[in-house]
Subunit: 292 residues, 4 copies
Amino acid sequence: MITPLTDRDTLDQEGLERVVERMINGGVSGIFALGTTGEAPSLSYRLRREVIKQTCRIANGRVPVLVGITDTSLVESAKLAQDVVDYGAAAVVTSAPFYFPAGQPELKEYLEQLIPELPLPLVLYNMPALTKVVFQKEVISWALDQERIVGLKDSSGDLTYFKRMLAMAEAHRPDWSLMVGPEEILGEVVLMGGHGGVNGGAILHPCLYVDLYHAAKAKDLDEVRRLSNKVLALSGDLYSVGQHGSAIIKGIKCALSTLGVCDDFMAAPFHRFHSNERAMIAEILDKHGITS
Amino acid sequence: MITPLTDRDTLDQEGLERVVERMINGGVSGIFALGTTGEAPSLSYRLRREVIKQTCRIANGRVPVLVGITDTSLVESAKLAQDVVDYGAAAVVTSAPFYFPAGQPELKEYLEQLIPELPLPLVLYNMPALTKVVFQKEVISWALDQERIVGLKDSSGDLTYFKRMLAMAEAHRPDWSLMVGPEEILGEVVLMGGHGGVNGGAILHPCLYVDLYHAAKAKDLDEVRRLSNKVLALSGDLYSVGQHGSAIIKGIKCALSTLGVCDDFMAAPFHRFHSNERAMIAEILDKHGITS
Amino acid sequence: MITPLTDRDTLDQEGLERVVERMINGGVSGIFALGTTGEAPSLSYRLRREVIKQTCRIANGRVPVLVGITDTSLVESAKLAQDVVDYGAAAVVTSAPFYFPAGQPELKEYLEQLIPELPLPLVLYNMPALTKVVFQKEVISWALDQERIVGLKDSSGDLTYFKRMLAMAEAHRPDWSLMVGPEEILGEVVLMGGHGGVNGGAILHPCLYVDLYHAAKAKDLDEVRRLSNKVLALSGDLYSVGQHGSAIIKGIKCALSTLGVCDDFMAAPFHRFHSNERAMIAEILDKHGITS
Amino acid sequence: MITPLTDRDTLDQEGLERVVERMINGGVSGIFALGTTGEAPSLSYRLRREVIKQTCRIANGRVPVLVGITDTSLVESAKLAQDVVDYGAAAVVTSAPFYFPAGQPELKEYLEQLIPELPLPLVLYNMPALTKVVFQKEVISWALDQERIVGLKDSSGDLTYFKRMLAMAEAHRPDWSLMVGPEEILGEVVLMGGHGGVNGGAILHPCLYVDLYHAAKAKDLDEVRRLSNKVLALSGDLYSVGQHGSAIIKGIKCALSTLGVCDDFMAAPFHRFHSNERAMIAEILDKHGITS
């Protein structure tokens, strides 16, 4: 989920309300707040807590809320986790600490220290493009023995990696959830036994992603190809308006703003699209038939 | 400066006292707290404030204290800056926000938004290996027009970059300070007109680095070569005991601990050296004649 | 196809005979000689010509032989292509020139200059890990208008990239072939409309890969999952005996040597496995039931 | 040295004559033909031999000619070396093979196999940006024991690396030559005991680089700073006209063409500058007072 903002430290509360309702009405199975698309690392700690509190309040148990606690400081990560349990979150999610790149043994020890501090189950979040660190086989192998770790979100885009981790989990922890970040390969991942996606596009247009998920669960291959091509076309258009790494988040926020769902303010170091880019986003929405 | 710790959220106060005295007695011109070597991103915000408070108290105006406020959240960065002015810091230091890699125009806007929030002058900190972002010519060119920005610390290890930035600063802002991170090239940098170094080894053995600085200022080339080779030999030994990116910080902390200066506890995701590595560090200190 | 060698500039002719027969008997649809797995850039030009000549002679029209002409010199690349037509090759394959990384406009011009020199159709080969260059959308879009370019082999491992290129080709050039390098995602690629794989493991154990291909063509999802998991397990074992980038080629050559198919000599800068690694490979073959 | 061309496989003989005379008259101590700036990997083998033959003929013993034999194929590398001895080359130069990235033990073995094939002394060429491989300490340490290896050219731009290798060579092989690629740090390198530079700008304007070298040898620090700043300003202008990795070679060739020295044809995948870029180069030459 994106984090709707009205300025650098103010939540767009009504926008958040509409975003959460949009996703739940669209049929999502859960909400992941304060991930990369949620600009979590760019938000103050106070604001992060508010996002969680409000998201849980709005979701109100209709779907589980997973909360990103990724941080460079284990102490801050643990504090955040301890607070969110009161708000009603279902689980916490962490990537590797992302300033100092940990070696794999260091990454394992980091998790070993973090887990006893967590009042909620933990989902790992593999995001090497931004954290510089992969959760490699040896760490995942260890994690599969930790009762408190219950799944993995993989945003590497490397399907071979995903499949290797899935095979390990299927053998040792059938209760684990393995979810994929890049929406363009959601269909394949679910066809191969993966458990779902945590996809940015599903904030804007949840039913498309939900339908794709169900088609893949039902092994309806023709429908998977049809819907997967729609996802591919949408993401190809929507995420190529901007340059730099921020194009995905800006594209989604701008599209939601164009539809009147929420403000498109971006936390630093990013800034919202200008009017010519807004016009392009409006055209893209029109082309893909996303009118509300 | 390293941050001496006794556990993950507790400052080793007596250790800090000895470290600061060691550096000031060794002749350093200033102290940079909460940089990379200070493990700043791994510390809780509370602890970061304590480090600054205590460091300023101990330094007590004998040398200026520069304080790292690098963060992924502009709001947290600004808050930290606003607090440290009360403690007596002389300037704040920031690298690029390091989760989302900002494009250069975004980086400029980030600084534009940050500067009005800062009660102290700002030094930029180029650290691309960890932040994924370089302060490129266009941003530095803009920064040279900002009165509140007063210098650049460059830890890229790219001397050509350093010299280009120095030439620009000499032409437009002779009051800027350009300092180099990697101690192995401190001599060359000062010979070419650079203003000094912010070097990890100077925490352990300040007089060597201070002497090298003065030799270079005095254009005593033979002495520069002699001392620079000593630095090279020391850093080559000390920083290659460990693996992974943490070898430098671990080497310095372990050496200080071996000398009885402070605890060598490391904040997650790192951990202190084991006994065999400690033995190697002890030998290295002995070999280089660092006995106290 | 690997290139069986008896020393640095001598083809293992009998080995080559057995390798080609093995693949054809295993049901492959074609042979790609002088690719990455064929160690082409490590071979002398004389030897490359011999490999092509002998491979075409042995294949004898039973399956088409595609020939890698990737080079850093357009002149050498064109010369090689002109020779191989006489031997009976069906098409040539080129990646980007790989010493100087070309910008996309430069890459397009490179192909523009190369095509008129080629007496055979051209397949593009996307291999960014080794060439430092991706065939991006703009170049592929141009390539789809070139009659002489007939397909793309993608070894990036990025399924989203593959799907984007496939969607472009389906819209403009239904005659193009899009083939995938990493065998671990062969099943998914064919399920989504891709045309096949150029997979190292198919040299060792062709029937497994051929069966997977046919299962995917037949949309037999359960069989795809079953066989894809076998591929994943085999590649996970076989390619992790060695370190460095050479582990895949060494693994395949050593396995073939263990089975008595051909010599496992490797061209510099690589060298064959030692006896302990050979023993591990033998165990892996045994575990996966590859006995001949 | 650049390689003047009139088309993709034709040497600009008169241009080559003028380039070699220009460099020798400018006072260079030697000529390095078929390096990166010489576009060696882009040239046919026939043309590479012609370049060497003609360069040695023109130089006629006035300065030693070093010849790049870098290749992905050890066999071709050795063949080239065996031919060039007849033309009168003084030494051969090789980087790591650059398609497959060799591990360090593999790199050592590669050199071990190459050396007995070489009729001339060998200089190593560290060029990780293009070869993906660094000659690390362990390989250099071994190389210092090989009588046939006589030096190292380092184009990494990493002065700390250069100084470490220099310190090792000074201790074990005082006859080794250590030369630096990036001209912007030539002065510092020579001040610290390095033996010289192999700098692209010295093809265009040799006396500036020769003067800088001599100033550094004479320990005339003020003159080093003055000339080093001139080099920095020239390279900053000249190499930033183009984009992509080709900007340096294009800038030098275009400048030489503008001065009437030689053709500016570039081997694929590069192409010469267009007229607007030519105009910028002409202005830069004018600004820096390079009129002939």
